[in-house]
Amino acid sequence: MILGVLIAVATFVDLNTGLCGIIAIGTAALFRIITKPSKGGYHPFDYYNPLLVGLSIGVRFKLSLLTFILILASAILTYVLTVVLKNLLGKYTALPVLSLPFVIVSSMVYLATLRSSNLFANVLIYHSPVTYFDLPIWINGYFFSLGAIFFSKNIIVGYLISGALLIHSRIMFFLSIAGYYTGALVTGEFNAAHTTTYQDMNYFNYILIAIAIGSIYLIPSIKSYVIALFAVLGSYVVLGATEVLFQNFSLPVFTLPFNITVLFFIYYSSIINSRLSTYTYLKNPESNLDYHINYTKRFELTFPGIALPFSGEWTISQAFNGLITHKGLWRYGVDFVIEDEQNQQFSGSADVLKNYYAFSKPVLSPIAGNVVEVINNIEDNAVGSINREDNWGNYVLIYDLRGFYVKVCHLEMGSVIPATGAYVTVGQKIGCCGNSGYSPTPHIHIQLQTGVNNNHPTIEFQFEQVADNNSNFFNRITPEKDMVLTPVFSSKKKKRIFELLLGDLMEFSIDDGNSKKNETIEVILDENGASCLKCGAALLYFEVHKNVFRFYKYFGPTSSILKYFFHAIPSIPLCDNNLIWTDRLSLNISLRGFMKNFILILQSFYWDIADNNVNCKFTGNYKFETHNITRLLSREVGSTKSEVKIHDKKFIEHIRIQKNGSIININRIKEKN
């Protein structure tokens, strides 16, 4: 918002330029209305290129009838070119147009008007640089370059743009300085022109490149900053070359170096599938960074996740790289047994197979998929003996559509239920735990592999949505020896309570100690079909993933009842056990203002410098507490405690939040029957 206002003011510092810009936008808009496109999304950024073309005309020619016609023609041309290029680039390369149309059209306009002696005679303007304050040239150079983006030689425009950048994003501001001075110093060194280098206005290309690559198209981080500066260095070549070339035609380079460099770098990133690439752009790089850090830490999805292949609490007797048999190609296997409180796997005599708790217990499918192979006729060994020939024993091999196979082994003879080709769902019984194959005592062996044969290597994996024997719930966990794990199954009632349907309306009263008011929350789908809660201008995205209800994205004002919901409830496991779980929030939910921005810019250099975890636990079947602690370098900078009560029919009944000494109470208002 502020950015927009400041930029608008900046363009009008020179009235003529500003007016031409407005006329250009107006023309483009009118053209759009007249041609009435029925397909093709409209985006306000479509007017950016015509605006720049208008400005480029206004800086050179005073407004007159001729200029007016020139603007009309150019604006329409630019608008058409923008839409066309957007379509072509988008279809074949997924690249944005940036300001290519502006570069193309403005270059053509300047070239074309070379022979328009009429224009030159009457309306050509020449601007001379305007400065205030007697600052050294290397500081002024930075502001002039910024101002040059909007064709102004009045340094006040540079001050305004710089201020806008600082307010909008400290990261962008930092990159504008880093980019400018890197480029200026390097170019100056090459050209042996250390003072006059700061008079080259074209260096705004360095600024734009640094900002675009360092914070917009890549997630801000040390890596992105380094890549941005390398790009700036690379663009020295591009800038130099274009300057020399264009000089021949008396053309300025406009933003051509910026467009070329950034477009190539973005395309490169997308080809190599870089993990640093931004996929959703929120309002500024800080928000982007915040969202990205939180998303990757919350949902670490490097390995496939599967369910546990049993019911109840089982102990891991051997995990990945286990010393006994999980080695080499078969290192990513996990063995499960049942132990009692005395850590015995059996009750009574150790020689009798039936005395082992695990023997004959149901084995459940850990994934949904098609059964590709079944062995069901290998005899179970007596306790202590092993079968080396049919070392997998009786097993089931299932294909998962995600592109891998799951093998569950050592099953009881004759106990396998599904036949080859059958489709099984998660949790469906596939057999009983036995003692067949390389198995001296009853246990379940499970592994993921890349193919059907025994020499296909095993793949590392994690278990998804499980609990341990102390009621700790884990969204994802890497199996380790001696862990005691149990699968989590959701409660039908809680799943129903959190089944929020399109059109549902809920009313809440919110009392923050100073004022009390009522808010209505509605469940809607956004333009991409994702479910979210809406209250006024705020949107809170939610989803139910298997057994967990969670919020994952917030858009909207700094203060909203929906933000309180996200803060108090990052996620809820929908089961009836009194579980304890942890989650994480993005900084903008827990902090605001200076502290948040300060931490974010530090975080862009080192992501782990701060964390924002939430510890949650159920205190009853429909009540739970959450405690969010924000830490910077292990020092606590924020703490919020919340008590939540689940409504017995839909969603939430009551939240009590204790934050920075104040208490906020949110209560559900009863629906009238």
């Binding site: 019911s311 009692d340 708790y357 149901p362 949790g427 199954f489 079947n621």
Partner: protein, 450 residues
Amino acid sequence: MKRTYEKPIFLEQNVGFANKFQSGYYEKMTTKIDGVPVKDIMDNFGSPVFVFSEKTIRETIRKYNRAFKTYYPKIVFAWSYKTNYLGAICSVLHTEGSIAEVVSEFEYEKARNIGVSGDRIIFNGPYKRSGILKQAVEENAIINIDNFDEIYRIEEIALQLNKKIDVGIRINMNSGIYPQWTRFGFNYESGQAFSAAKRIAKSENLNLNGIHCHMGTYIVTTKAYMVETVKLVEFMKILEHQLEVDIEYLDLGGGFPSKNRLKGVYLPPDFTAPTIEEYAKAIGETLLANVSPEKFPTVYLESGRSIIDESGYLLTSVTASKRLLDGRKTYILDAGVNFLFTTTWYDIPVKVGIEIEGPAEDVTLYGPLCMNIDVVRENVKLPPLSPGTPLVFNPVGAYCVTQWMQFIEYRPNVVMISESGEVEIIREAETLEDVIARERIPERLTKFEL
């Protein structure tokens, strides 16, 4: 130690070790419970005294949880309060994750008093007093309706509170056992249960979300539970399909046997009763085979007797011996049917509480009450016992401490041995104050001269 003089007796005996009626040398003694000598407990807490072993309770419930949960994931044990509602015992079970199952106002209030929240209480029973029923509704208890009149009463309450409440219904069915308990709940096979469900589904203030069935007590066949489970699942599917209700839980009730000896059964329970693993397998496998994972209902089990019986002991002393006219040896104990009501159905195993030697003979054990029915054991083989000899009755954990009478004798101390071996009182012995606390003698009757 001094031997008491015993008049010689003549017993007809078959030859030596070939005696198929047992050679008769007494070997069954229980001198310690969880490592604590019986004598010490009686010295400190008197005689008679009930003793509970916390260790046994925890081991048993954990064994049950492990057995059932490894067959079916959504199992919840609900402690049957009527089996033993001593606060300490219930608390042990609640700390092991069991919720509460109550059948009356008194039991509901007791559960709440211990600290169990309403939504963790299953409220069953053929008569639920209106006041407590309303409270249970307000506190979101899990209520299983027993009869049509109760449906109307609950509906009335829901209307008053302007709420739509979740309710379950109890059904009875033919699961192949004898006797079939037909007086509780709605009958399944005749269609009565479906009518009740339909009536609830049509109500605007009630939502049917559970089915409860408690077939009987001391059921020694796993087949009955398989049949029960199959029919409950079948009923669940019929209801979901025809009435579009969403059944969230199935309550299979209780009925597993303990190691107590039922009268009239020849073989001891070690030979007749299946293990808990076998019950778990029968129920769990039936569920897995008949319900798909996304629709797994929560399954409640209301076991009482089988969980608590073996953890309870009654220590009593011989007060006198008497030989009846027909030559039968009898002993008079200081605990009788007033504390061991379950002797009506069970021959509770009894062992001597100290080291003792001697041939065993058939004796009858009487209690201290001046009532002809006060027979604790009609026939048991015990060696000669002198007055003061402690006897240990076990298992008495189930029903004895709830069905005991304040009759003729003050009720004794109840103690529990903790996992670390400490003996703590969990219910103090009664005094005269306790007995007369609720009495009101009209003024006009207080003066008399004899």
